[in-house]
C-alpha cells in the first residue's frame, strides 16, 4: 500500500515539473535574473564611481594626533583618507613591531600634505600607535599651486606695502581675515596675469608666428624683396612693442603679489613662511559647519569641472579634457553622418543588389568588429603621415620642417574615429532605408517624381530616425574610445584649447586632451598615486555622464523625428 502511494506521488510530481517547465515560467525567471544582474552591475558601477569620486571634494576634518613608536613620538596633522585591516604577520614581516593581541590590526591612511617639508603627502599609520585624537579648530588647510596641500597652524601674514599681521599681536580672527583678503586679491591678480599671458600674449605670439611663416613663404617663392622685408619688420616691431607694454604690465602685477606671504607652524613645531602667490584657497575645516562645508564642496566641484589641471594632472580641474572630448565627438559626428548616409543610400538605393554589393555589405559589417587600435595605427600611418605630410608639402611649406598637419591632431583624431564608427552608421541607415514601405516610394514616383526627388523628399526624411540611431551608436562608441586616440592626437596636457579667439578659431591641427586618456594618465602615469585615485573615479564618472548626455540628446532628437514620420505600420 505504502509503495503504491510513493509511486503515485512520484508519478504525479514528474508531470508537474514538466508542466512548470512547459509553462515558460523558468525562462521568465531566468530572464528576470539576467536583467537584475545587469541592472545591479550598472548601478553598482555608477554608485562606486559617484561615492569614490564625489567624496573627494568634501572638505574633511583635519586630525591632529601624536604617534608614538619605539619610545619616539611625533605629532601629525592630516585628513583620514581610509582605514583598513591588515594582518599582524604582514606588519611583522615588514619589520614593524606591534603590541596588540592581533591577529589583525587597523591602519589608517593619513593625508598629511606638506610635501615640501615632509617628503610624502600620504602616510600609513598603525592605529595602536595613536595617542589622543584631536580636531583643533584653528588648523588651516591651504590648497596650493605647487607641492599639494598645506596643513598647519596660521601664525602670521606679511603684506606688500603694509605692516604684517600676526596671531600673537592681532589675534587669530584678524590674521585669518587678513589672509583671506590677501588670497582673494592675489587670485584676482593671478587671473589677470593668466588672461594677459594666455589671451593677449598668446595672440601676439600667434601673430608673430604668422609673420615668420609669411616671411618664409616669400623667401621660398623668391619674392622677399626690400619692401616686403621692411613691411614685415615694421609689423613685427609693432607686435614686439605691444608685447613690451604687456610685459611691463605683467612685471607690475607679479611685483604686487610676490611679497605677500604667510607663516605657519607645522605639526612638528617648525614655523615656515610661504608665498601667498601660490595659494588657491585656505580654509579651517574643523571650524566649519555643515553649510559652510557644503559651500566649499560645491566650490571645489565647480573648480574640478571648469579649471585646468595642475600638478601633473593630480590637482585642479579637467575642463580641457572635457572640452576636447565633446569637441572631438561633435566633429566626428559631422564627418561620419553624411559619409555613412551617402554610402548607405548608394548601397541600398542605387547599387544593383548583386555579388559585389553583397560583398561590400559584408565587408562593412565586419569593419565594425576591427579592434580600435588597428584604426589608430591606420590613422597614424595614412592620415597623419601620408595625408598630413602631403598637406604640409602643398599648403604649409613655410612651416617645414615643423609639421602642421603631418603630426597627430584634432582633425586626424576625429577622422580616425569617424572611420571607426562609419560601419555602424551605414548599417543603421541601410536598415532604415529598407524599412520604408515600397508603397510610399511608388506613390511618389507615380506622381511624376524622379528617383532622386523621391529619395530627397520622402525616403530620406523617413529614414532620419534610423540615421540618428546610427549616430547614437557611433557617439557611444567614439566617446569612450582611447586606444586609437593615443596615436592620432590626444596628449596628457595641451597648453591651449583647440577652440579660441585667434583666427581661424578652430585649430584642427592642435593636439587636445580627452577624458578617457586623462583617466589613464592620472590613474596609471601619475607619480602621486594616492592623490590621483579619487580623481580617476571622478573623471570616470564625468566621462560616463557626458556620454550619457550626448546620447540622451541624440535619443530625444530621434524620438521627435520618429513621432513626425511614424507611418512605418504600412
Amino acid at each position: 500500500m505504502k509503495m503504491i502511494n510513493e509511486q503515485d506521488l512520484h508519478s504525479e510530481r514528474a508531470p508537474r515539473v514538466k508542466a512548470w517547465v512547459r509553462s515558460g515560467e523558468p525562462l521568465i525567471w531566468l530572464n528576470a535574473a539576467a536583467v537584475s544582474v545587469s541592472v545591479i552591475a550598472v548601478v553598482g558601477l555608477l554608485l562606486l564611481l559617484a561615492v569614490r569620486g564625489l567624496s573627494h571634494f568634501w572638505p574633511a576634518d583635519v586630525l591632529a594626533v601624536t604617534v608614538s613608536y619605539q619610545d619616539q613620538s611625533r605629532e601629525l596633522l592630516g585628513e583620514v583618507v581610509e582605514e583598513v585591516e591588515v594582518a599582524g604577520v604582514q606588519l611583522r614581516e615588514a619589520g614593524i613591531e606591534v603590541q596588540g593581541p592581533g591577529p589583525y590590526f587597523r591602519r589608517t591612511l593619513l593625508k598629511q600634505g606638506n610635501r615640501d617639508f615632509l617628503g610624502t603627502d600620504f602616510t600609513w599609520l598603525i592605529n595602536e600607535q595613536f595617542g589622543e585624537r584631536r580636531l583643533p579648530p584653528d588648523v588651516v588647510v591651504v590648497e596650493r599651486l605647487e607641492w599639494g596641500n598645506f596643513y598647519g597652524y596660521l601664525r602670521g601674514v606679511s603684506r606688500f606695502n603694509a605692516p604684517p599681521v600676526t596671531v600673537a599681536a592681532d589675534g587669530p580672527e584678524a590674521t585669518w581675515q587678513a589672509l583671506q583678503t590677501l588670497i582673494t586679491d592675489t587670485v584676482a591678480v593671478r587671473e589677470e596675469i593668466r588672461r594677459i599671458e594666455q589671451v593677449d600674449i598668446g595672440a601676439i605670439n600667434y601673430e608673430l608666428e604668422r609673420l615668420r611663416l609669411r616671411e618664409r613663404r616669400l623667401e621660398l617663392e623668391g619674392a622677399l624683396d626690400a619692401t616686403a622685408a621692411a613691411d614685415l619688420a615694421g609689423m613685427r616691431a609693432e607686435q614686439e612693442a605691444r608685447f613690451r607694454v604687456l610685459q611691463e604690465e605683467l612685471y607690475v602685477l607679479y611685483d604686487s603679489i610676490k611679497d605677500h606671504s604667510y607663516s605657519a607652524e607645522l605639526a612638528d613645531g617648525r614655523v615656515v613662511t610661504l608665498p601667498i602667490a601660490k595659494v588657491v584657497r585656505a580654509y579651517q575645516p574643523n571650524d566649519m559647519g555643515v553649510f559652510a562645508k557644503l559651500g566649499m564642496y560645491f566650490e571645489r566641484l565647480w573648480e574640478f569641472l571648469t579649471a585646468e589641471p595642475r600638478e601633473a594632472n593630480t590637482e585642479g580641474g579637467i575642463f580641457p579634457a572635457m572640452f576636447g572630448t565633446v569637441l572631438m565627438v561633435i566633429l566626428m559626428s559631422i564627418i561620419v553622418t553624411p559619409f555613412g548616409v551617402v554610402a548607405a543610400v548608394y548601397l541600398r538605393e542605387y547599387a544593383s543588389q548583386g555579388f559585389v554589393t553583397r560583398t561590400i555589405r559584408v565587408a562593412v559589417n565586419n569593419l565594425a568588429g576591427v579592434p580600435s587600435i588597428v584604426y589608430g595605427v591606420f590613422g597614424l600611418g595614412f592620415f597623419v603621415y601620408f595625408v598630413g605630410g602631403e598637406l604640409d608639402q602643398i599648403f604649409f611649406p613655410a612651416a617645414l620642417p615643423r609639421p602642421t598637419f603631418g603630426t597627430p591632431g584634432l582633425m586626424w583624431a576625429s577622422l580616425t574615429l569617424a572611420l571607426l564608427t562609419l560601419p555602424v552608421v551605414i548599417v543603421a541607415t541601410e536598415e532604415g532605408l529598407a524599412r520604408i514601405p515600397k508603397s510610399l516610394r511608388e506613390g511618389s514616383l507615380a506622381l511624376g517624381a524622379t528617383r532622386a526627388e523621391t529619395l530627397w523628399r520622402v525616403v530620406l526624411p523617413m529614414a532620419s530616425p534610423a540615421m540618428m540611431t546610427g549616430l547614437i551608436l557611433a557617439v557611444a562608441r567614439a566617446a569612450g574610445e582611447v586606444a586609437p586616440l593615443m596615436l592620432v592626437g590626444v596628449v596628457k596636457l595641451a597648453p591651449t584649447l583647440p577652440l579660441d579667439g585667434n583666427y581661424p578659431y578652430l585649430h584642427l591641427d592642435q593636439k587636445f586632451m580627452h577624458l578617457g586618456f586623462h583617466i589613464y594618465d592620472v590613474g596609471f602615469q601619475s607619480p602621486n598615486v594616492e592623490a590621483a585615485r579619487p580623481l580617476v573615479y571622478a573623471t570616470a564618472l564625468l566621462l560616463v555622464l557626458i556620454i550619457a548626455l550626448l546620447n540622451l540628446a541624440a535619443v530625444s532628437l530621434r524620438n521627435r523625428l520618429r513621432e513626425r514620420y511614424k507611418s512605418l505600420e504600412h
Binding site: L440, A446, A449, P461
Partner: protein, 275 residues
C-alpha cells in the same frame, strides 16, 4: 442565353447617370500585341486593347491573371521591377509610351495612379496634395492653395478636412486617406487615372464613397480600374476586360459582358464558378 450573372440593371438602377460626354468615345489608350516578361516567365500575352477616353474601364479576373501588371504597364511602374521587359506597343494619344525618348516622370504626370493600400506621405494633408506640384517646381502659395482646395473638393474631401489641412495625413481614416491619395493624384491634372483595387482595403461605406467619386471623375479623366469585386466593376465601369492567365479573354461593354458574355470562361468566372 440565360446566365446567373449579376443583375446589371438592378445594380445600375440606383446610380446617377454617367456624366461623360455623349456619343461614341474616342480611344485614349491603345495596346497592340503587348507582351510582358518577368525575367524568363511571361506575364502577359499579346494584349490588344483600346481604352476609350473619359470612360471607366475595368480589368477583372482571378488573382495572378495579370490585370495589375497590365495596369502598371500603362504608367511604366513595371520599370521598377528588376528583369522586367515589355514588347509590343502601348500608345497614349498615339504616342508610344515605351519609346526611348519618353520622359518617364512626365509620363507619370499624365497617367496618375492610386494603389491598393492608401499610401499618404508622412506629411500634412496640404503637403500631400501639393507634393506633385512642388516636384514640378511650383511653390507659389496662392497657386498651391487654389489647387489643394480644388483637388480636395474634386475628391469630395474638402468639407471633411478644410479645418485641419496642416495636420498629419496619417491621422485620417483609411477611406479618407484613399480619397486624399486620389486628390493628390488629380492635383497634377493627369489625363488618365489608374486605380489598382482602390477600395479593397476599405470598409463598405468608404468603398461606396470611392465609387461615387469614380463616377464624378470620369467626366474629366480616362479611368482604368482593376478590381476583384465584380459587383464593383459592374457598378462603376462602362467597359470591362476579363483576363485569365495573362491573356485577354473578352473585352466589351460592361452591360454586354455581364449579361451576355461570348466566352465560356468569362461566363464561368462571373457566375462564380471559379476565381
Amino acid at each position: 442565353m440565360q446566365t446567373h450573372a449579376i443583375d446589371i440593371q438592378a445594380l445600375k438602377r440606383d446610380q446617377p447617370q454617367p456624366s461623360g460626354p455623349a456619343g461614341p468615345a474616342e480611344t485614349s489608350l491603345r495596346m497592340e500585341q503587348l507582351n510582358l516578361f518577368y525575367n524568363n516567365s511571361q506575364a502577359l500575352y499579346d494584349i490588344n486593347l483600346e481604352i476609350p477616353r473619359q470612360r471607366v474601364t475595368a480589368f477583372i479576373g482571378p488573382s495572378g491573371c495579370g490585370k495589375s501588371s497590365l495596369l502598371r504597364c500603362i504608367n511604366r511602374m513595371n520599370d521598377l521591377v528588376d528583369g522586367c521587359r515589355v514588347d509590343g506597343r502601348l500608345l497614349l494619344e498615339n504616342e508610344d509610351v515605351y519609346d526611348r525618348r519618353v520622359d518617364v516622370a512626365a509620363l507619370r504626370r499624365r497617367v496618375g495612379m492610386v494603389f491598393q493600400k492608401p499610401n499618404p506621405f508622412p506629411k500634412s494633408i496640404y503637403e500631400n496634395v501639393a507634393y506633385g506640384l512642388r516636384i514640378q517646381g511650383i511653390n507659389k502659395k496662392r497657386v498651391l492653395d487654389e489647387v489643394v482646395e480644388k483637388s480636395l473638393r474634386a475628391a469630395a474631401l474638402w468639407e471633411e478636412v478644410k479645418d485641419r489641412l496642416h495636420e498629419s495625413a496619417l491621422g485620417m481614416s483609411g477611406g479618407q486617406q484613399q480619397r486624399l491619395v486620389i486628390a493628390r493624384t488629380i492635383a497634377v491634372e493627369p489625363e488618365v487615372l489608374l486605380l489598382d483595387e482602390p477600395a479593397s482595403a476599405l470598409d463598405p461605406i468608404s468603398t461606396l464613397k470611392i465609387e461615387e467619386l469614380i463616377y464624378e471623375l470620369k467626366s474629366r479623366y480616362t479611368i482604368v480600374i482593376v478590381t476583384h469585386n465584380m459587383q464593383q466593376a459592374a457598378r462603376v465601369s462602362d467597359m470591362t476586360a476579363f483576363m485569365y492567365m495573362g491573356k485577354l479573354i473578352e473585352y466589351d461593354d460592361t452591360d454586354t459582358l455581364f449579361t451576355n458574355p461570348e466566352q465560356k470562361q468569362t461566363e464561368d468566372y462571373i457566375t462564380g464558378r471559379y476565381g
